[in-house]
């Protein structure tokens, strides 16, 4: 059975941009907070992709019942509160709310960690993972420290793989 997971706008935009949505759907039962769907706007590739998946009921919309975390913007706040309420994994790429969610006890991950997971599971090649890291580096929407940590992990996994 697939594990449940929630995502915020920053993660979804990167997931669409890097074309990892199909991997995500195979790995997780995704829930999208209504506030996230709203702040993704209407006529751009990321919102259109989400809309199609919502219409097909491949991804479900959800709203948290109460707000334990009151900081940040609507989408991030809803994503963190929903993850807390349902005790689900939260995919989030914006570092400030990421840290807030982690501090609140939410299990969090980001695009880089997910790419490392896909590489470790041999679902994507080294060439692909480095290409995706390079794309994210160029966009500058990630913390450089996160990128370096992900690079180190891939390098170590590769070393381990070679030694076996």
């Amino acid at each position: 059975m697939r594990r449940g997971a929630i995502f915020d706008s920053s993660f979804w935009i990167h997931a669409v941009y890097l074309d990892v949505v199909d991997f995500l759907l195979a790995d997780y039962q995704l829930l999208c907070p209504r506030a996230v769907a709203r702040e993704l706007g209407r006529d751009n590739p990321t919102s259109l992709r989400l809309k199609a998946l919502l219409t097909a009921k491949t991804i479900q919309l959800a709203t948290p019942r109460r707000e334990r975390i009151t900081l940040y913007g609507d989408g991030e706040r809803a994503a963190i509160n929903l993850a807390l309420e349902r005790r689900l994994l939260l995919f989030i790429d914006d570092w400030r709310p990421y840290e807030a969610a982690r501090t609140a006890g939410v299990e969090v991950a980001n695009t880089l960690a997910y790419l490392v997971q896909l590489y470790n599971q041999e679902q994507i090649s080294l060439e692909r993972v480095l290409d995706d890291f390079a794309k994210l580096a160029r966009r500058g929407t990630r913390r450089p420290e996160w990128l370096q940590a992900a690079l180190k992990l891939v390098s170590e996994l590769r070393k381990k793989g070679k030694a076996q």
């Binding site: 915020d8 706008s9 920053s10 935009i13 702040e39 993704l40 706007g41 209407r42 751009n44 590739p45 990321t46 919102s47 940040y72 913007g73 609507d74 989408g75 991030e76 706040r77 914006d94 400030r96 709310p97 080294l126 060439e127 480095l130 290409d131 890291f133 390079a134 794309k135 580096a137 160029r138 966009r139 500058g140 929407t141 450089p144 990128l147 370096q148 690079l151 180190k152 390098s155 590769r158 070393k159 070679k162």
Partner: protein, 122 residues
Amino acid sequence: MRKETRRTTTVTVRLTDEEYEVLRRLCVLKQTTQTGYLTHLATSQARKELLDYAVEEYRAGKASLSELAKETGLDVPTIMEEVAKVTGEDKRIVEGFLSAVKTLSEANEDPEFYSLALKAIG
């Protein structure tokens, strides 16, 4: 079919004679109304400045994307694309990435790691 009516708000702008003359001449040349010209100018400039504000705040680490979307009324993908556009012009970011790959590549005696990253950067 019922025609959709959009609510409008009137904003009054006071101009000196000289300022008005500049506007009048331009609108004659462009064959546009003064109201239409000012509406387009004000909204496109305001939108641009909202986007610049969001990018600056985000890059300075002062606010999250979600907060900025709420503050500016822009959607998150629009802000993120603009951040990517501005950051993409900064060569130091790519250099930092390649430098980290090179260090790991040398430490692990794995030249392919570096050559694949170089290829990815293009």
